[in-house]
Amino acid sequence: MATVYLQALISGILIGGVFSLISVGLTLTFGVMKIKNFAHGDFLIVGMYFAFFCYTLLGIDPYLAAILGLPIFFGLGWIIQKFLIRPVLYAPETIKILVTVGISLCLQNIAVFFFSPDFQTVQVAYGSNTVEFFGARISLTRLAATALAVVVVIGLYQFLMKTRTGRAIRACAEDGDGALAVGIDIDRIYKIALGISTVCVCLAGAMMTPFFYISPTVGLSFTLTAFVVVVLGGLGNLKGALIGGFIIGVVESFGEILMPEAALKQVATFTIFTLILLFRPTGLFGTKLT
């Protein structure tokens, strides 16, 4: 019995890093430009299909594809910010929500149109390798995904703390007028922020392909999970998103074995979401972009 719980804990941690990476992207764009990006999870399929086609057409390993795709992932965020988000950035909230929901629907339907609604998988040779850990099994590809995700998040954190551009991004998050006053081109910073944000999600998508199915609508549930993580960790808080990702990963994983139906696993997640909103709306770690 203990093994079941250990397995649940491990599974939770193994998906937690992926949740963290996805959520960090969402929290960044929220922190910097207060946009609630409902298309966020849908960028997952960009990374996924990219890795899928790299693998099936060119025989490129998904991890290599993740790196090769970086400029595309970043550029996509940059372009979407420039042409779709920027024009509505100062519009009423409902308009902004409609635009991001619109982007979400577009991404999904473009994928359906070009790649069919069928589920796809990337079957790499090492895909089902596992190691034993006190009777529990650890999937190596999941371990790699979660570990790499943490590395990327830490790298991003260092970038934000140590570089000139990172400092400017934090400045924009803290005080937009202050940022304008010191001569920061905030439109450019916003493009960089959405670029980084899509990179986070797309990387997660590509790294998931060895163990996760691909379908045009797979991103939706990740959008929801990312919102839960971001609210849990504190809106705009990077560390919060990192830790929150693991918390939600573990909660979902236990929800899956403790709920009468595995499909009800998200009930646990959303219970936490509701409790946080009721009792600690600033999240566990506050709302600073640090």
Binding site: R164, R167, R170, D177, L180, A181, V182, I184, K288, T290
Partner: protein, 234 residues
């Protein structure tokens, strides 16, 4: 050096600045005084580019700048220290200062400029590693002015730098503004503290309802009966 010609500006569809014309002479301190809500802040924001110029022209060294973005104006040397300071509270004082030299030209000289600024504001040097949000109001204002100077601007616009500060600190701030002028920086000051600001000003304008009414040198306005009655409480 800087000239506004018939400038209008405002928020959404409310016109706040109504055909304002004024001039700043190179190397001078010019003050705008006026009651609450007459459009002083809006004027500064319009010069800095945070508010759009609806009509009219803003000329910097005879070339129009009203279409330029805020960061382009900063690069040209037009910098504002905003009302309420608008520091980055969870960044350190040092990071705040470095952001003051964000544009590429200024960034190259960030070290020298930092040294120059800290010479002027020794109190700020003691606080470099502290988070800006934890400073006292006076210290925050000093950091805000220091940050504004980090790019060695040609024009520094200060929006109510003495607001909310203890009298002794207010005096220090005004002394520092006089020092800033000695660096060769042209200063545009918006102030409620009419007495003190007029005493350091070369030139002053009185703003009422989106436009300037009375103008003259600092000493002239200090003895102007209307100014005395309305703004000096005499």
């Amino acid at each position: 050096m800087l000239e506004l010609r018939q400038v209008t500006s405002g928020y959404e569809d409310i016109e706040i600045v109504k055909g304002l014309s004024l001039k700043l002479d190179e190397g001078s301190i010019t003050t705008i005084i006026g009651s609450n809500g007459v459009g002083k802040t809006t004027t500064i924001r319009t010069i800095a580019g945070l508010n759009k110029t609806w009509t009219g022209e803003i000329l910097f060294r005879n070339s129009p700048i009203q279409k330029l973005k805020p960061f382009e104006r900063v690069e040209m040397g037009i910098v504002m220290v905003p009302e309420g300071r608008r520091l980055f509270p969870s960044l350190t004082v040092e990071e705040n200062l470095l952001l003051g030299a964000f544009n590429p030209t200024a960034a190259k000289q960030a070290d020298q400029n930092m040294e120059m600024v800290l010479e002027l504001f020794p109190r700020v040097r003691e606080r470099l590693d502290q988070y800006a949000g934890t400073l006292s109001g006076g210290e925050q204002q000093m950091v805000a002015i220091s940050r504004g100077l980090m790019s060695r601007p040609k024009i520094l616009m200060l929006d109510e730098p003495s607001l909310g500060l203890a009298p002794i600190i207010v005096q220090q701030i005004f002394d520092l503004i006089a020092e800033v002028k000695k660096l060769g920086t042209t200063v545009l000051l918006v102030e409620q503290n009419v007495q003190k600001s007029l005493s350091i000003s070369d030139y002053a304008w009185v703003m009422e309802n989106g436009n300037v009414t009375i103008n003259g040198t600092g000493p002239e306005l200090m003895v102007n009966p209307e100014v005395k009655k309305a703004y000096l409480g005499l």
